[in-house]
């Protein structure tokens, strides 16, 4: 039986933008296709579960400080899991913690895992609003991803590291270079919440398919009735552009 195993990192701490919506969508879109789905939480001190997809969301600064040491200590385990074929999706604060550090207004630093060559520094204002981007996770399959961003951090990607997409409307990584998020190997990071996956079903399905490959090879995903998802997606794009 085909099954997808998801590990939700720090569900108690990093959940500020309704991150459980992302997990709920992965679950439903698997189960509607007869694919078994299991999500396990992983909190501070827990052993890292084996999984096909690791998910990490965002939190308030205090919550991120509370898990900082634990997450940094897991960098090796996560790197090994990704090398073994697992995917990782990181949203907002979790995205920032993919990098080397987050530097606050007073120069205080929250360390990251360094899984991706990127750094984040707090800017003078928060970047808040609806956002849409163009991206191409698999060459030849362009898609628009839409949602909401709310971050004080300005993220800069290292030399040669590719963003997840190009900003159509909104701020993105730093409001300057037009990039949003990061996509490198099997790691996807983004500031887009809303949550991310419900109204971006193409992205959700892409991640499901990609994560299934680790243990099941290429799995053809049956199409679903996405009329409501499509409407929500289109409305959000129109609002982001207005």
């Amino acid at each position: 039986m085909t099954d997808l195993r998801v590990c939700h990192l720090y569900p108690e701490h990093l959940n500020i933008y309704a991150d459980r919506g992302n997990i709920a969508v992965l679950r439903s879109r698997c189960e509607w296709r007869g694919i078994d789905f299991a999500a396990v939480g992983c909190g501070p001190g827990d052993p890292l579960p084996e999984a096909d997809l690791y998910y990490v969301g965002g939190g308030q600064d205090r919550d991120q400080l509370l898990i900082e040491d634990d997450l940094v200590g897991r960098a090796g385990g996560l790197r090994a899991a990704i090398a073994d074929g697992a995917w990782m999706l990181a949203v907002c604060g979790g995205y920032q913690m993919l990098g080397h550090y987050y530097r606050g207004h007073q120069g205080d630093e929250i360390r990251g895992t360094g899984l991706v060559d990127l750094v984040t520094e707090a800017g003078p204002t928060r970047m808040i609003g609806n956002i849409s981007i163009d991206c191409e996770l698999r060459p030849g399959e362009p898609m628009t991803v839409v949602g909401f961003e709310n971050h004080a951090g300005r993220t800069r990607l290292g030399e040669g590291v590719r963003p997840l997409g190009r900003v159509l409307h909104g701020h993105g990584n730093n409001g300057r270079d037009g990039g949003e998020g990061v996509h490198t190997g099997r790691i996807v990071g983004t500031y887009i919440h809303g949550p991310l996956l419900p109204k971006n079903p193409a992205l959700a399905d892409h991640l499901i398919g990609a994560a299934l490959e680790r243990r099941h090879g290429t799995v053809a995903l049956e199409p679903l009735d996405d009329r409501l998802e499509g409407m929500a997606h289109d409305v959000a794009i129109a609002i982001a552009a207005s």
Binding site: P11, E12, N15, I16, Y17, A18, R20, G21, A24, V25, S28, Q60, D61, R62, D63, L65, L66, R126, I128, G129, N130, F148, N150, H193, G194, P195, P198, K199, L228, E229, M231, A232, V235, A236, I239
Partner: protein, 452 residues
């Protein structure tokens, strides 16, 4: 006529004009105008209130609490009140413009605006209900507001009372120099089996350790203690016990106060309304001169505030208005609706305007799943109607009978046409204003500036 009274007269004239031209209730514009002409207008007009003022703030329930407190104090006292969510500086100034003859102010104040407004009003009592995650994109983070409240209460003069919710760890840790009255719930039967996931404040505000809860009543509110630093819920001065939920009709409980105890049959359902009633009762204790039997009577005759389980007759159908403005409030509404297992006809109107919060992520933190299998038909409307319908679809709510309406007007009609029994109209803040405007045109409700 002094220069100041001339400015007051000009601002009053603006209020009359705004109301006559149907531009709105005149609930904020005159105050804005007045503050522009006389920046110290609030200080000057407050001085005319012989008994000073009470300010009420919370992320959830401030309108209901203020209205309840008024029900406990009027008509014995003549109150000056702001209305209809006009709860920034301009709304308070507008209210003060129309308060000739009042001796006590009762003002609900926006949680972010509170420190500024309190510095001008110098309230005799500050009533703080709760801090739930609310409209993050507008104000920044919850803890920033908690920190500002901390500085504000610490700076209150010694003669100024603090009325605080002991069950909310962020609010309970606020301190002042003067008298403090703490309220909360003390009832084993009302406790939840586990903490809901939309809870915001699971960590000790002082040391960051995960809080331990003897009981959780609602969100992060309950009988808490910190294993790290030993802080715990303060001793309660005003509390409710022996709670008996009466379905969607209300809650019966015993109100305990320093002035004695009374049985109360609150005509509004949901534990959050018990908290609102406790905040109002504790505030009445702080003001003084209200005996406990009078408190019980005031609460039992209470008429729901704007969109808070407000019952209406629309044509030949009963309708109930439910204002949902953030995950905590919406979760309580859903939990309350789910206590009545009869399948319901539902309209859910979701807007994403500034007053609603542009970010609608929060709908995924609301347990709409509790309604799965308990609906007849569901219609969604508002600027994010499709997204709302999609959320319900992933929650297993509505099934085949889930419909997206093009407008709130159409949505209301579609909801009224389907199913049987009362129609529940759940709406975010600006969607509620739109819905009320539609109902007003149909002659069902009064304009909002007259209602509150």
């Amino acid at each position: 006529m002094t220069a100041f009274t001339a400015k007051v007269a000009a601002a009053r004239a603006a209020a009359g004009l705004s109301r006559r031209t149907r531009a709105g209730g005149g609930t904020t514009l005159p105050g804005k105008l007045l503050l522009r002409m006389a920046p110290d207008a609030i200080e000057r007009m407050t001085a005319r209130l012989a008994d000073g003022s009470v300010v009420i703030s919370a992320t959830n329930g401030k309108t209901t609490t203020a209205k309840m407190l008024a029900a406990l104090l009027e008509p014995e006292r003549r109150l000056c009140r702001n209305t209809a969510g006009a709860n920034l500086e301009s709304g308070v100034a507008s209210a003060l413009l129309h308060c000739d003859g009042a001796d006590l102010g009762v003002f609900e104040v926006d949680e972010a605006a509170l420190p500024g407004v309190a510095a001008r009003l110098r309230p005799r009592a500050t009533v703080l209900g709760n801090l739930f995650r609310d409209q993050l994109d507008r104000y920044g983070e919850l803890e920033a507001i908690a920190a500002r409240w901390h500085r504000m209460t610490a700076a209150l003069p010694a003669g100024s009372q603090l009325v605080r919710n002991g069950d909310d760890p962020l609010v309970a840790s606020l301190e002042n120099q003067g008298e403090t009255l703490t309220f909360g719930i003390d009832d084993e039967g009302a406790a939840l089996a586990e903490m809901p996931h939309a809870s915001d404040s699971k960590w000790c505000p002082a040391c960051g350790t995960r809080l331990r809860y003897e009981r959780v009543y609602l969100g992060h509110m309950g009988d808490w203690s910190c294993p790290g630093c030993g802080r715990r819920r303060p001793r309660l001065d005003v509390w409710a016990d022996t709670l008996d939920p009466l379905g969607l009709d209300g809650t019966r409980f015993v109100l305990r106060t320093p002035a004695g105890d009374a049985d109360v049959e609150l005509p509004m359902p949901g534990l959050y309304n018990v908290y609102n009633a406790l905040a109002a009762a504790a505030a009445a204790c702080a003001v003084g001169g209200v005996d406990v039997a009078r408190m019980a009577r005031g609460l039992e005759r209470f008429d729901a505030a704007f969109g808070r389980f407000e019952r209406l007759r629309v044509g030949d159908r009963d309708a109930v208005l439910l204002l949902a403005k953030n995950p905590a409030g919406a979760n309580e509404l859903i939990r309350t609706l789910a206590t009545d297992s009869r399948p319901k006809q539902l309209l859910v109107a979701l807007n994403d305007r500034i007053a609603d919060g542009r970010d609608i992520s929060w709908i995924w933190d609301v347990d709409f799943e509790l309604l799965a299998g308990h609906t007849q038909g569901v219609v969604t409307a508002g600027t994010r109607a499709a997204e709302m319908a999609m959320r319900l679809k992933y929650g297993g709510v509505g099934g085949e009978r889930l419909e997206v309406a093009g407008s709130i007007d159409v949505g209301l009609d579609r909801a009224l046409e389907g199913g049987e029994g009362p129609v529940y109209l759940l709406a975010t803040y600006t969607a509620m204003l739109e819905l009320r405007a539609v109902l007003e045109r149909r002659g069902v409700v009064r304009p909002y500036w007259e209602a509150a």
